[in-house]
Symmetry: C2
Subunit: 498 residues, 2 copies
């Protein structure tokens, strides 16, 4: 029994209805993206906003408050019990900090902004989106003030997505990796071993065949279809209704097959985290991944460290070429290079491992300046384009391939992007440690033997759910702080010592 | 604007979160039967029971109570406004009447009973299920006392499924139709025009081909796939998340193809009711079919009156025989008779139009005696078998094809069965009226022209949602009480005058 303290048990009991609401809201979201008939959207929006508001009210209810206070006053809680108290208190604190007026305004603005952003992007018209971004920045500034912070208002926003992450941490990471990445990138481009483009990017595939490849790869990973699904949606995502019901999606664009496959491998990484949470945490506040950064470390570990490795690509070459007959013209080495094209490009989601974090650095830079009133929204496009030139040596000719490419700001999310880089860094940090604990890691990949790797991730990360804060989890499992040098070493090893 | 009264508008507003919870609970149920990975069931059960209990608490909240009282005290409400007040008051009254202890006990007993029933049926062992049925009868007797009634405790139970339906009404119906059906049945069996068995019942079909037939028939009906779906589940059902998201399911057993097709036509009838509710009732207490009986009248209208008519079968013969090539050996008339086999049989769900209501009469008889302490649970199997012999001239040799065949009692549902007969009767009543208002009704079916028929049903029944009580709706739309003579005339016309 993980939970012995009576006050904590009472808290878990009282919290269960909030868990149930999250369960339902998750299913509603999944359904909206997969099977909902399209005219259902209006009623669906009403239902979701009612349930979100209801959950908010229950979170702030006096009844729950009393139980939390009681559990919080208990001494000698074990780590799981302390985790429960920490997670619920944090949720309440955030909910309490934001006045209803602000929450409603944000909801209203972003509902419109999402629609306007889509149109603005389509029409390549930044002016359309500008007033919305202005409102969103302003409301996020307000949000930061209500949430509170020690050093920088941006801290308050970061913390929403990554508990405990500070602007200082992110700056430190980028100050180090920024120049290092540029150094590595220049050498990679000079050497030309990794191509800047590959003809397989234009080759069309049969969707049914591709579905078979994706399912076969999931089978090889041991994806538990009795607890998990793969479906199709416009944008790939992972969602979990619990520890025993986790669902991923992918899409089939019909060409450049690695995009579909790697999205499945990426989402598998997210899914595995949720699936391997300790079953005894079921339906408690701890039953789920702890943060976006840790989550992304898992998806990137599978997508990049495993999925883009030579060993993996060689090992699944027979699976791929069996279904995708056009591959027979290409050697496993060809396919490896196709999976690892390196090139400065405009679109973040299509960026390779080397350049990806420069896209995030740019966004971090702009967000930080916006929140600190050091940049006006009207100057964002120019700032974006100059930074692209500075970091990647290319300048977008359209807003669509520049400042309007991401959905995040239209959703009101400022402070989210850095968690992507955090994930990349932590994935490399995990690789460093896994290579010491499982020295034949790459041999296992060659043999498509994943059970030890999955067990390792379960023991170090997954099984804890949200028991420990992200930073604490890393210290506890790897006896180390966030350390971005592992990421640079990983890039050097892979891209400079081939 | 349907709603002008401010107090009613406030009530609708306050009720919306209850509507949202129902929306979510419906989706959770749909997902459980269709796409949920099987290990998800335990968390799903926790989530659903938390949300059902939460909805119950909100229904009984002081806040809602005040708003209902206020709206209830208003004078000169229009019919829609009065409907809102009636529906919410009724929901609260039922929720309030039942003490938590009873609700929990019923939930606990039926959760176990469902599992035990399944096993008892499999093992053909009534003794296993007996103690559960005893508890369920006892709890339903208690329930009736708490709910209150004028004449018979069974009234209180009937009313839960069919607002305003009395034991007296059901008795009156059966007193009339029981002997009439037996008279007709005997003649049909004597004449032999409608066969007792048909070789097509044993013919296997290809599931993919059958799926095409079902989808094509739905297309012919004008099933709006932008607001509706067809999926697969163990037992066919209809569920609605709102007026703009209604979903039906069917199953593919692989033989006796009419079962799959007619289940689709049946569920289409249910779906159409929900889809044609006045859009202005969206997300209000009136946004849904008013009762089980009226609902069943719609499904039976499409399944039996239309779906089993010679005109329909002849008209869709080309659709069916295109995909199901084995049909080419059979004439449309052959297929018509296959769709209309008439024979005394053990299983209610497989019964034909003529015998079906005798299965219900039997159940009504037993339920009524049980609730009135005139029959002991241990005597139910004997009573069942004797009644089968009396009504249908056949005696089940197993419990499986007798008293253990239906799931209803294991779910705690006593008083539900009569709504099936009510549906059958009302469907024939609607036919009587539609033939006066649309004299070329059958010609339209021959031409697969359904828009006028759908409009008629919309105007008379669907668009009102739950605005009027079932009996009131019939009076208003057809200027008539429930009248079972139409059903008998329908049977006579179809089965004796061919």
């Amino acid at each position: 029994m993980l939970f012995k303290n009576e006050a904590v048990k009472e808290l878990i009991e009282k919290y269960r209805v909030l868990w149930a609401l999250s369960h339902a809201i998750s299913l509603l979201s999944w359904d909206t993206e997969t099977y909902m008939p399209k005219s259902g959207i209006e009623e669906r929006s009403i239902a979701v906003s009612e349930l979100v508001a209801l959950r908010h009210r229950l979170l702030l209810s006096e009844e729950l408050g009393k139980v939390v206070d009681k559990a919080s006053a208990e001494e000698a809680l074990n780590n799981y019990e302390a985790g429960v108290v920490r997670v619920v208190k944090r949720e309440i604190k955030i909910a309490k900090a934001l006045p209803e007026r602000l929450v409603k305004e944000l909801a209203k603005v972003t509902e419109e902004a999402r629609v306007v952003w889509r149109e603005a992007k389509e029409k390549d018209n930044f002016e359309m989106f500008k007033p919305y971004l202005e409102r969103i920045v302003k409301l996020n500034q307000e949000k930061a003030e209500y949430l509170g912070y020690d050093e920088n208002p941006y801290d308050a926003l970061l913390d929403l997505y990554e508990e405990g992450l500070k602007t200082r941490d992110v700056k430190e990471i980028f100050d180090y990796i920024g120049p290092e990445i540029k150094r590595i990138l220049n050498r990679v481009l000079d050497e030309g071993y990794y191509p800047r483009k590959h003809e397989l990017e234009d080759v069309k595939y049969d969707v049914k065949a591709m579905e078979k490849v994706n399912n076969e790869v999931l089978r090889v990973f041991g994806y538990p279809f009795d607890k998990a699904r793969l479906d199709i949606s416009a944008h790939p995502f992972t969602i979990n209704m619990g520890i025993f019901d986790v669902r991923i999606t992918t899409r089939y664009e019909g060409f450049d097959f690695k995009r579909s496959l790697l999205s499945v491998v990426h989402e598998f990484g997210h899914a595995l985290y949720e699936l391997q949470v300790d079953e005894r945490l079921k339906a408690t506040p701890l039953a789920g991944g702890v943060s976006l950064g840790i989550h992304e470390s898992q998806s990137r570990f599978w997508e990049n460290i495993i999925g883009r490795s030579r060993e993996f690509i060689e090992a699944i070459y027979p699976i791929m070429s069996k279904e995708l007959s056009f591959l027979k013209k290409y050697s496993p080495e060809d396919v490896y290079r196709y999976f690892n094209v390196v090139t400065p490009s405009f679109i973040r989601t299509e960026a390779d491992e080397v350049t990806y974090n420069l896209h995030i650095l740019l966004r971090f830079h702009i967000e930080l300046q916006l929140i600190n009133n050091e940049l006006k929204v009207s100057d964002v496009p120019e700032s974006w384009n100059s930074l692209m030139e500075e970091y990647l040596g290319i300048r977008p000719k359209t807003y669509r391939e520049g400042v309007l490419q991401d959905i995040h700001w239209s959703l009101g999310d400022i402070g989210y992007f850095p968690t992507y880089t955090l994930g990349n860094i932590i994935s490399a940090q995990i690789l460093y440690h896994i290579l010491r604990d499982i020295p034949d890691f790459y041999e296992k990949i060659s043999n498509l033997e994943f059970s030890d790797i999955k067990s390792y991730l379960r023991e170090k990360i997954h099984k804890w759910g949200s028991t420990y804060q992200p930073k604490e989890l890393l210290r506890k499992s790897f006896n180390e702080e966030i350390n971005s040098s592992h990421f640079i070493k990983y890039l050097e090893n892979k891209y400079l010592k081939h």
